[in-house]
């Protein structure tokens, strides 16, 4: 964070990210919400880049913009009678309260912790390092996560399977 360029980039990206995130909650139109969410995701990816975590940044774009945002779009468009507007609900106040609480906790933790600064240089190839760790040290959590995802996929397929659907040649 010594480089002025990086600092400027960080603040610009952070402002865009936070602003877009606020917009997600504020705008009434659900599709606009998703569009702003995409901006937020992209901003987070930008933050990763300022941290030299290029692999994570790219994966952030790939998964969050390429998949999660699309999933949300599908959910909005395919829901019958949901309308296109973000209805004002009774949850507004509790949600606001919760958000303030979480934000407060995070800020407190961020300022309270004495962050240890690593002496070693950044990784040249973050992808290789992550790959090594995932298949070596964290192999078990990795596998558990994949099994969980697989079961989620199977469950989803089972849920939406039309009744009496049969396997047959196309």
């Amino acid at each position: 964070m010594e480089d002025t360029g990086t600092v400027v980039a960080f603040w610009i990206i952070a402002a865009i990210t936070v602003g877009a995130a606020f917009g997600v909650a504020a705008v009434r139109n659900l599709i606009h919400s998703v569009a702003l969410l995409i901006v937020t995701f992209a901003g987070v990816a930008g933050l990763y880049i300022t941290l030299s975590a290029d692999f994570i940044a790219v994966v952030q774009i790939l998964i969050y913009i390429g998949a999660i945002a699309i999933l949300l779009i599908f959910a909005i468009v395919l829901t019958p009678r949901a309308g296109r507007l973000n209805q004002e609900g009774f949850m507004l106040l509790p949600a606001l309260l919760l958000a303030v609480l979480v934000a407060g906790t995070m800020i407190f933790v961020a300022f309270d912790t004495s962050w240890a600064i690593s002496e070693r240089d950044g990784f040249e190839e973050t992808a290789t390092a992550i790959g090594d760790l995932l298949l070596d040290k964290y192999a078990l959590p990795f596998e558990i996560a994949s099994v969980l995802l697989l079961s989620a996929i199977v469950g989803a397929i089972l849920l939406v399977r039309p009744e009496g659907a049969e396997e047959g040649p196309e």
Binding site: D54, V58, G66, A67, T126
Partner: protein, 415 residues
């Protein structure tokens, strides 16, 4: 910082030196330098892209016309060469209509967003030796991620138009792009597995060093990538998101003037991006078995790129369109298992090569041959398993008869 790469007059890279000196001369901080330098390089790429698109609009129209027994544009300028420019001027001068019920902001934004990923891709593509804007370590992943931005952009275009054709096309496009992105990832994953790097420059270096092209070693991923690319750029037989005969103009039905021009350009640029990736990853990039010593690398690269793009023009002039469910079936039931298997096989081959320590002259031809045979077996075999070749895909002629009043209906294949 100015390095003279080669003294040859044709080497474009030398043009960079005076510019760099100029920027250094300003004496601005490094960050400003960096931004300026990137902007100039991006501008060069953008200019090349726009010129290419304009040229290829003419080339495609003439080529398709040739395939269709007509002349194509031949009135504006010599042999109609100025036609795309006339078209561009027409598009610029047209009123940019925003329909009344459209979502104004998103409607304006969508053509711009569609533009971004198609240009950004070229940042990581090496046009020649050390002619790459951003030598990213995760270049391959970057390609896929950036292409993924297309999906929401297309949806935003379709949805904000408030047009039913556009929305239907947008939904189709999203479903298609997601399915075929998977194939893209798996195809590139196979290549990455084999090379052991995600840097696009490393691909070219590897192919240069081993004096081969990846297409000879990994034919199946190349096929998958080209097919998935056709989906991304809406070329037949995968052009269901435009589907001229069904959905008018698909997601950009409501767009006119220069906003339509943006989509039109973006489509070509995306085509060039796909062709650039195919060229870099599978066709040896800017190398040509030693010929790059005499011919500038960027010329070789562009030649290959245009040749790959020609494939898409050709298919557009030739093939009808598949239905969306057929394309989805093709992606999920046919290509996906094949590609997963392919990744497994290639992983095994890499391990086997490392374990046996065979020399490259033995290992590469062997792996190439095995993969080619496997590709054929897998494609034909899996097609058989899925019930192709049972006769339902084959055409037949009408039954001829001289008797009237008889009924020849069998209904054997009505489903």
């Amino acid at each position: 910082m100015a390095i003279l790469l080669s003294g040859e007059w044709y080497d474009l890279r030398d043009l960079a030196n005076p510019i760099r000196e100029l920027i250094d001369g300003i004496g601005a901080p490094d960050a400003v330098d960096y931004v300026l330098w990137s902007l100039i390089a991006s501008l060069v790429i953008l200019v090349w892209l726009v010129v290419s698109v304009i040229a290829f609009i003419w080339i495609e129209r003439r080529l398709v016309a040739l395939m269709q027994n007509r002349k194509g544009p031949n009135r504006v300028g010599p042999a109609g060469l100025l036609q795309p420019i006339a078209d561009a001027i027409k598009l610029l001068l047209k009123e940019a209509i925003t329909t009344r019920d459209a979502d104004r902001i998103l409607f304006w934004l969508a053509p711009i967003i569609v533009f971004i990923p198609t240009i950004v891709v070229f940042a990581v593509v090496p046009f020649g030796e050390s002619m790459v804007l951003a030598d990213l370590n995760v270049g391959v992943l970057f390609l896929i991620a950036v292409a993924g931005i297309m999906t929401p952009a297309v949806f935003i275009a379709g949805w904000s138009s408030n047009n039913k054709y556009a929305l239907l096309a947008a939904m189709r496009t999203i479903a298609m792009l997601i399915s075929y992105e998977l194939l893209q990832v798996l195809a590139l994953l196979a290549a990455v597995l084999f090379i052991g790097s995600m840097n696009l420059g490393a691909f070219v270096d590897w192919q240069d060093e081993y004096n081969t092209w990846l297409v000879f070693i990994l034919p199946l991923p190349l096929i998958a990538y080209i097919i998935a690319g056709a989906v991304e750029i809406n070329r037949s037989p995968m052009d269901i998101s435009e589907a001229e005969s069904e959905l008018a103009a698909g997601y950009h039905t409501e767009y006119g003037g220069i906003k339509f021009g943006f989509f039109y350009q973006a489509e070509y640029m995306a085509g060039f991006a796909i062709a650039a990736v195919v060229t870099t990853v599978f066709l040896g990039g800017w190398t040509l078995f030693g010929l790059e010593e005499w011919i500038p690398g960027w010329l070789i690269f562009l030649g290959k790129l245009y040749a790959v793009f020609f494939l898409y023009i050709w298919s557009r002039g030739t093939l009808p369109r598949l239905r969306i469910d057929q394309l989805m079936t093709f992606a999920w039931k046919f290509m996906l298992p094949l590609m997963l298997l392919n990744v497994l096989i290639i992983g095994a081959e890499v391990v086997a090569w490392e374990e046996t320590g065979a020399s490259r002259n033995v290992a590469l031809p062997a792996i190439g041959a095995v993969n080619a045979v496997l590709a054929v077996i897998l494609i034909v075999g899996w097609a058989r398993v899925l019930g192709h070749g049972s006769g339902r895909q084959r055409g037949y002629r009408a039954t001829l008869t001289r008797e009237i009043g008889k009924i020849y209906y069998t209904g054997a294949e009505a489903s």
